[in-house]
């Protein structure tokens, strides 16, 4: 199939970006969306032009590196799918596809479709862990955990940190990301001792990074490639309010 692509080009974070239009020919329906971009980039290199910069690594939907906003949707049209797992059988000959980077003040553009997501690392640094040094652990089976709880914790821990939730949210809120981590750890007994400081500190860091507030729109859940549930945000709110009112959640 032949396609028209309108792709965001931006030299670096200081310069203004714009859309460029490209034509690609003979795209196979078996290709992944990123393989279609490979074809375009090879074409550009052959013409002596600079290819389009985009983030990608594992191409298996798990590393969280790929991050394209495709026809107005984070990671494109497929449900529970990262950009790298979207395949070209979705499109037909003659289609026009618009591709942009994640749009959020807290994710500044580095180049073209590549954005800076180090704010997510800093949110984890603020408390997204259990403070246990290597070598301090008791036998793993000394602590039975209800299967349902473990499964719920796993479902929250499945977040890949791609930032689609932020890109999809009109407020550019990072609540789904933060809540997934807070839930993962709050649901497990190991995470209990720090649950209050964790919720408060992570929220504070999120605000400091300039992410917007949550107004219960739900676009984050709808676009999340890993199906992280909105229930996590409800849990985060409970954790946060509980911590603040108990007075023990003072930022550490």
């Amino acid at each position: 199939m032949n396609l028209t692509l309108k792709v965001w080009k931006q030299k670096n974070k200081n310069e203004k970006g714009h859309f460029e239009t490209y034509q690609v020919k003979d795209i196979s329906s078996e290709m992944s969306f990123l393989e279609m971009f490979d074809v375009l980039n090879e074409q550009l290199v052959a013409e002596g032009k600079e290819p389009i910069a985009f983030d990608h690594d594992c191409r298996e939907g798990i590393c969280g590196m790929c991050s394209m906003h495709i026809n107005g949707r984070a990671h494109g049209p497929w449900h529970h799918t990262t950009t790298c797992q979207l395949h070209m059988r979705e499109y037909k000959n003659g289609d026009t596809i618009v591709v942009e980077p994640w749009r959020a003040n807290s994710f500044p553009v580095i180049k073209d479709l590549v954005v800076d997501r180090t704010s997510f690392d800093r949110i984890i640094e603020a408390g997204g862990y259990i403070s246990v040094n290597t070598g301090n652990a008791v036998d793993a089976n000394a602590l039975p955990i209800e299967k349902q709880k473990a499964d719920e914790a796993f479902a929250a821990a499945a977040c890949i940190g791609c930032g689609a939730c932020v890109a999809a949210c009109p407020n550019a809120s990072a609540m789904l990301f933060v809540s997934a981590k807070v839930s993962h750890l709050a649901l497990l007994p190991q995470g209990d001792p720090e649950r209050k400081t964790r919720a408060v500190n992570m929220i504070q860091q999120m605000d400091k990074e300039g992410f917007g507030s949550c107004t219960n729109i739900g676009a984050c859940e709808a676009e999340c490639p890993k199906g992280i549930s909105l229930e996590n945000i409800a849990r985060l709110n409970r954790e946060y309010i509980g911590a603040v009112f108990s007075g023990s959640g003072e930022g550490a």
Partner: protein, 658 residues
Amino acid sequence: MTLNSKIPAGPLESKWKNYKSTCKLVNPANKRHLDVIVIGTGLAGASAAASLGEMGYKVKTFCFQDSPRRAHSIAAQGGINAAKNYQNDGDSTYRLFYDTIKGGDYRAREGNVYRLAEVSANIIDQCVAQGVPFAREYGGLLSNRSFGGVQVQRTFYAAGQTGQQLLIGAYQALERQVALGNVTQYSRHEMQELVMIDGKARGIIARNLVTGELERFFGHAVLLCSGGYGNVFYLSTNAMGSNVTAAWKAHKKGAYFGNPCFTQIHPTCIPVSGDHQSKLTLMSESLRNDGRIWVPKKQGDSRKANDIPEEERDYYLERRYPAFGNLVPRDVASRAAKERCDAGYGVGASKQAVYLDYSSAIERYGKTEANKQGIENPDARTIRELGEGVVKEKYGNLFEMYEKITGEDPYKVPMRIYPAVHYTMGGLWVDYELQTNIPGLYALGEANFSDHGANRLGASALMQGLADGYFVVPYTLGNNLADDIRTKAIPTDHPAFEAAEKEVSDRINRLMNIKGKESVESFHKRLGKIMWNKCGMARNAQGLKEAIEEIKALRKEFWSNVFIPGDIKEFNPELDKAGRVADFLELGELMCLDALNRNESCGGHFREEYQTEDGEALRQDDQYMYVSAWEYKGDSQYEMHKEALDYEVVHPTQRSYK
């Protein structure tokens, strides 16, 4: 130089205990003045950096991705082995050790492997304490499953995302140390050169991939945790950015490369769909717990899978290896698939695939589930639905991924699979302390050669990465740094840093100034084809000799005709890739040399000239019971050193899974 593996004396089971009790220590006040550089933030790098940070060392981590959490360990699916014997099925430290030695076809060190088995149980404890949500049974205890090459259930898992959960655990521990100021992390940075001062590794030159600037970093020690080199084949299950550059630079500075030809071809990957293919996707080995592998009994049978009746299917693994069936080790399963396809029994449009079929598992689980739910005389449809439910819970994410990529529903039609490059057992030569022959330079995880011999067992890569990082290097590094406490941090305007930086910038300038006609990608593809055809699943002397000449020619062409767009001092992924491919173009040659030298078949290294009557790998223990450790001597010049492997406990035999 003679190779000293530094295996401690004494009986196998007390070597590590004795080492830990007698190794030198660094007191906390001194640790604060010791800098450690960690390259790569996968399981080995993140676990090492976090643990060393906790101990008080000043750690710097480097990764080329935008965050440490993206390292390719994240994509490991199936699980992690540990000799916990929670299933009461006869497992023990010795048995995990023995399975690993045998699985590696008797080409690994006993001392290292025993230590690995010994610390395996601690890893599970540590990860659970960090909040890694492993799969559990209804009683609240941890669940296990089986992997290839073993007859016990010792694999711990988190659905099909075990690597992700373990890496997130290590990443969180790492971020905690970043917050505490013990670790400084440098993302989107790539190591370009090792800096040596007075014969010791003392730092690195890294390129900031955002600005293109070269930056200098000092370390009392440098830990390479940079993963494997499977991308030399172009198509592999590795991430697009996985590369050999850090290890290769160290190699060219004098670190020996161990067993470079030992590569693992994983039997169950989604087949290539066309020339556009950029990478291959693994379908976890755990699928062989329940899935059955078959091809039609008739050559060139073009009927659809579901139209081929049971009696016309050849479950060739169950036929050839009744004792282990579908759970034979990876090298054996891969070769068997290739043998069937080469003989004309392959399926799918390309005929380069076999079936991995879940219909009997779905039926079996469906019946059990119906029983559990008290449904009497369930009809076929109910059984199927219930069975699909169980399979979905166990393997749902893998089935979903298969459907996204192929457009076929694996619950209804068998998956098509074919072997693909997955892991490299070879890597930098290290001693028992994980130190290379360059003092102060260490290699951990897949980047070293040490524990898997000629073939790695499934679910053992995660085990090794975390063993090295959490439980081995924190001891062995101290043993060596104890002698370095008087060494003050060396300023990075030292001439050795100047010279190393100049080397890097000259090289980059040279690459940019070629201004040829062909893209980096195209050279990488061409190299991959040579490697796959001549140094892949089956190798022979003539093919390897041809490959060496072809690679040399291709390298020459690369250095005269590659085209890299953009500038040096900016974000330029084409330039990053060019540096990596340039290194692959050298490594490929060494892999072929090593494969040509090893006139035997063992594990993943299959030389067609050396096979038993029924097509199994034929080792030549009298001649090749050694690690080949290659020293770089200049362009295309290598000298091989041998480290003899002494088996004191296990008696090597012809490996049999029949």
